[in-house]
Amino acid sequence: MRFLFKTSYEQDLRLFRDRVDMGWYILLLLATIAVPFLLSDYSTGETAWVFIYGICGVSLMALVGYTGLVSLGHAAFLGIGAYAHAYFLGLGVPWVASVALAVVITAASGFVVGLPALRMTGIYLAIATLAFATIIQEVFSRWESVTHGFAGMPVAPPEIFGVSFADARPFYYLCLFFLVLALWLTRNLLRSPTGRAWIAIRDSEIAAQSMGVNLAIYKSMAFAYSAALMGLAGALFAHKIAYLAPDIFTILLSIQFLLLVIVGGLGSLHGAVFGAIFVALLPPVISILRDDIPDTFAGLSTSTGIPLFHIFGDALGAFLKKPGVEAGLFGLILVLVILLEPFGIYGRWVKIRVFFSTFPLYKADSFKRQKAYMKTERLR
């Protein structure tokens, strides 16, 4: 068991709880840096998706997890960032400036979308964001001079100050850099008055107001910041996908991002990363399983002599090959997470960590949820 003795106020402000924690994170960073040397180029490319989704997760976590404003159409911001960046690159704007412009434009659109948030609550706001996302998707299809509409828009490969980042390995490091940057910036906000104001808005708007928090400004800031991060992710997304089309940035993609934050663990930055790992890696895992499961079960059949395994394996394999199964699997996992582990992967991780750190004195009901009664969110 490790006890944390606090001797100065600074300790609560630091990024890491103590040296040991910092050590673990540095180790994690080194491992992440080493990954491209251990995997094939293709796998490295797939892992870069984790970082891009991670930035999306951080963005949504700041808005939904910390400020409590639900956005059902966040993929629209990803699209705005992606198209803006591709457009400016096409005009010959240097990479860094193009990304900066994309971020600013997306932040501005986030601010605009956030304006209704100032007067709407809960479900109304969620549906309003949905409506915005649909409208923006239509704009992608129609504004052909900028987005090339349905014809699609090719994206120039990333080249920063003359150095090409198009290959798998350099692009991987580029995405990793921006994820770490996004995490650091958001963490900074969360340990400052702005982050606290956001949490206050989530938990009790009236109390926040009576403490001096200007609701309008902070809600707008939350939307703008969240959108800005999405814009950054969008720029990287554009390069990764190399060819933009309006039907990429759908409501279903937005829902995938929401799934990311819930499965990862709502209310923590770790959750954003865990969720990103989950959402980015699940489809490749399913494809691998799809092909391997019948064979694995067939082998199990022959070794144990029970033909049932073989039949089960074939049925499962056939099931996984049907169209639209992926969405159902995501749905199933989402349902299971909410029913069984509402704190997500990060929550489970914390429980496991506490178990080992307090072993053998772990108390079985350490995380027992109090029997909860429905607290009305209806306003009177």
């Binding site: 900074n188 400052s192 008055p193 949490i199 938990d203 107001q209 928090v213 609701l215």
Partner: protein
């Protein structure tokens, strides 16, 4: 000049006059209590003062300034803090974060410096923390610092409400039923704290209360209300023995 004065304030809720022409003034350094049966409009007056509701008539004056139309989030910066009858704490945050949030009105950093967490922001955070720790010491909340509010017992939450209001460094403190739900011991503690707030911290206290023992113990002046209208104002003993007040409480 009184620290705070309400002049003929009123508000209706769909035909019911919750507050009907109430006037009173609170002098600097006193403990002023508003009493009255349930539904008399006491908390509504607080909500009018916090600018959660708009008064339909009259004026609110604070330190000589007209604050009748000031937006609600500017009230804290003026120096008015309040606690809520039904506890409006930030349930999913730690006690420390709740108190630190109360320092928002004294925030001097802007978004960009916070984004980069510049040394100036770090320094200001430590200053806020020091101010908050003083209040934690004053109210003996040390052991609950890092606990989430959801996990705290009711009595501690009531004290946290008080602590949070104190962290805004107010000139006028509005306490809405500070002893409701507290047992005898906790109510005694509350009485001592209110007296300390008045004498040691020099903060003016405006209180809504039902517990007459507490009211008699700490108040300098009392205002009795019924059906949104004032019944009597004076020292605790004067008001408690006033015939109108007794009729309001006992019926008849």
């Amino acid at each position: 000049m009184s620290l705070f004065a309400a002049e003929q304030i009123a508000i209706n809720f769909g035909g019911i006059k919750a507050v009907d022409g109430v006037s009173f003034a609170v002098e600097k350094g006193e403990v002023f209590t508003i009493i009255g049966p349930n539904g008399a409009g006491k908390t509504t007056i607080f909500n009018l003062m916090s600018r959660i509701y708009d008064t339909t008539e009259g004026r609110l004056m604070f330190e000589g300034q007209d604050i009748t139309r000031v937006p609600p989030h500017k009230i804290a910066a003026l120096g008015i803090a309040r606690t809520f009858q039904n506890i409006e704490l930030f349930e999913n945050a730690s006690l420390l974060q709740n108190l630190l949030l109360a320092r928002h009105a004294h925030k001097k950093s802007n978004f960009w410096s916070e984004l980069l967490f510049l040394p100036s922001v770090r320094r200001m955070e430590v200053e806020h923390r020091e101010a908050v720790e003083k209040v934690i010491d004053f109210l003996d909340l040390q052991q609950y610092r890092d606990s989430l509010i959801v996990n705290l017992p009711y009595g501690v939450r009531k004290v946290t409400e008080l602590a949070r209001a104190l962290c805004t460094e107010p000139k006028l403190l509005l306490l809405d039923e500070p002893s409701s739900g507290l047992n005898v011991e906790e109510t005694e503690d509350m009485a001592f704290w209110i007296q300390d707030i008045k004498k040691l911290l020099g903060i003016t206290v405006l209180m809504v209360e039902h517990d007459m023992t507490l009211v008699s113990a700490v108040s300098d002046r009392v205002l009795a209300l019924n059906y949104g209208r004032p019944l009597a104002m004076g020292t605790p003993r004067e008001v408690q023995s006033h015939p109108e007040v007794m009729r309001a409480y006992l019926g008849g």
